[in-house]
Symmetry: C3
Subunit: 317 residues, 3 copies
């Protein structure tokens, strides 16, 4: 039994990147591995890239795939014990999860942060219960505090494009109209540091991420200074992690938008973003359409990261 | 052509249970049977267990599966002839059903009771039209008055756990905040009597089920008395069958909740429920979490019952 | 790379009909062709026949199929450059489309006309962008101005039923409570003329279709006169194409309903409709239930037309 919820579950990253390269070059080499195995993908939140790329990855491995969209309005799960369930919640998670586990061999779960209860989000209460009660290996398809399949795809993409052994990678906060989770920036900071890059995280004051995830990264507040000499610019919005304003938007300063002027400060950096991206908020049209923008190959590598992870798990079954 | 809508469609139950045992032990033995065959699953109502387990069953048999969610709001079907269709119903069931039949080899249909028009519900108007017009074998995935795939899974589960040849099986009504169909209790009563068990159905006055389904069962009104010496307790809520109050909730007496005190009256009975279950309405946390609770293996057997039925049908194609 | 969006993409129609006949007689002959290939079906609008028949067609060819329902409310795509995306559109089509293309081998797209902006509809702005940006072959599963998979199925059906080399085919407008696109009648007019039939299109004044699509068809305004001697009657409603009333309903004259009296004017014609059909608006119960009604085999041929087109494309990959 192996779960995949963070960088700690991939083992040695160098070796994982080699496995990913093999998968990319030989996408159909392991179809026997998934024969008669079923992947169940459970979405508590909407999804485009993750939905399509994870299905594709499992199919490439010869698996059957079942997709379940949990409309939270239609099927609310009780999570507390002792509650008299006479309201709108028709099933308890303690029944629902083991039942779902009994119908498949591997479970993928997408469940975003609620951004109102920090301790619930950072305890990963949904994902943890799937791990505890499903009886099957669980793959995070973006949980409350991390999106490791995205970060793995990001690192694969950097490896394919980097021009020196230890590139300077700058993850910069950028403005967005709505409050977004910290899952993607948490994971990118953690994985890029684990990959041994020279990583800088830059954000406005008050937007510092959890130190648990940015360990090994330089923390900056001046975007122009941070971008100097960057080989890769990873733009992303996130809401506040700090207790006082957890989950809030406290800045929409459009001077943080990644523009051609900003990119001119870099070492002709590649531009990355996990998508979907708000143009002219996060990044200008000119930058995302430039030859240095690698957002599409980055998204395409989502199949590769998912397939590498699922293949690893299939080998343990 | 064979349909599966009730216990009468499974043939000799002893032999069916043997086929089920083979399927459970050899889930992938019959993949050639479903090769190039397509199972279409049509849901007029929401579903978790049925959706996943029936997909899994068909895939285990090597079939292709297509799932169609019929949002009744979006796609209302006219069922009457002679109507000028100038309203919100954009298609007549007399076209929709044969067309769906033309795209598949077997059709699974889920369509709940409306609980307002008893004669419409008990004539199984939706299911009957699929049988009449689709030109393909039809499998009930819970219809207005029966849920035979659930009952078959229940019997498989009892056979796996029973400690004497003819166990005492007690199906007890239990309180629930909303009006529920009689489909599950109808089928469980019918199938467990057909299995030759010593079956008691116990409910408050006014909640008697259709005698058509409880034939061969003892009918009780005193839950404590009924539970005495029980080997299996099957809890379930249902709404009123009686004409005067059809589809209504006339009792929410919490004394009917299956508690440890109630279970103490039994012969250390196993606890069963079809799920989803309202905890502390139908059953207490302590009972459903006890070692005697077999609700999860019962749900897991939904794959076995569906696969046995679909396999039987595939053999006739 | 080959797209399929109109009659011009099928090549010589006689030869295409021969390929269709082979596909119908040998549905599983080409399963190796689709091995390890993925078909992505994207629905911006609801669908029954197209959804099921295209899935079935791709599966018959051994492909993996991924279905994506784009709820336009939940996932609005920005299509303009230069816009500051601070509103309800969370992704730009310039990212979304190439990403979707990167996860599959062939893309099917359903996107109806909005019926408010004629030039947007007739420029096929959604379909064109998939062709331009996805990097993959695109199959129209009904676009704003055409439904070529339907028309191809219609022609296959006529070939199977015609009793003379050049049958008289009459497409007649018929009343409907809502405004419908011109996609189906546009394509049927175009394909049936291309098939060399003697085609008449009859409609009330003001309902003339685009001459681009009705080239080679006779245009009539008197339904009774048009129906005289018809071998096939193809009923369909559409909204106004004319600039002044584009997308509007300007007539609901029930005298245009195809009745037994109307059919009596024909040469014992077959009755056709693409479905879904409003009974007793478009056609009476008696006519659609008569032995001359071929709407069900016509719908069944949707698998054949889709499979022929997808097979052609697979051969080019």
């Amino acid at each position: 039994m192996r779960h995949f919820t963070s960088v700690h579950d991939i083992g040695d990253l160098k070796s994982a990147l080699e496995r990913a390269r093999f998968v990319k070059e030989n996408p159909f080499a392991d179809k026997e591995l998934g024969r008669d195995k079923t992947m169940l993908l459970i979405f508590f939140n909407s999804s485009l890239r993750t939905r399509l790329s994870t299905q594709r990855a499992a199919m490439n491995l010869g698996m059957n795939v079942i997709v379940l969209d949990v409309n939270q309005g239609a099927w609310k799960l009780e999570t507390e014990r002792g509650v008299v369930m006479d309201g709108d919640k028709s099933e308890h998670i303690l029944e629902a999860i083991p039942v779902m586990g009994s119908y498949c061999d591997i479970i993928g779960v997408r469940s975003f942060a609620g951004l109102t209860d920090k301790s619930a989000d950072y305890s990963e209460n949904i994902l943890s219960q799937f791990i505890k009660y499903s009886g099957k290996p669980v793959v995070s398809m973006e949980a409350a505090t991390g999106h490791p399949l995205q970060a793995f795809a990001d690192i694969i993409t950097i490896e394919e494009h980097k021009k020196c052994a230890r590139p300077k990678v700058v993850m910069t906060w950028a403005p967005h109209p709505k409050a977004l989770p910290q899952a993607v920036p948490n994971s990118f900071a953690q994985w890029s540091a684990a990959a041994g890059y020279d990583v800088t995280v830059v954000q406005p004051h008050g937007y510092e991420l959890s130190p648990e995830f940015t360990k090994g990264c330089k923390i900056e507040y001046n975007q122009d200074k941070a971008l100097e000499g960057a080989d890769f610019v990873y733009a992303k919005n996130w809401s506040v992690f700090d207790d006082a304003n957890y989950g809030k938007v406290i800045c929409k300063d459009m001077d943080w938008t990644v523009s051609e002027k900003k990119m001119a400060l870099t070492n002709n950096a590649f531009f990355m973003h996990c998508l979907p991206v708000r143009r002219n908020m996060i990044v200008t049209d000119a930058v995302i359409e430039s030859p240095q923008s690698i957002v599409i190959p980055e998204a395409a590598n989502r199949v590769v990261s998912a397939q590498t992870v699922i293949k690893d798990i299939l080998k343990t079954l």
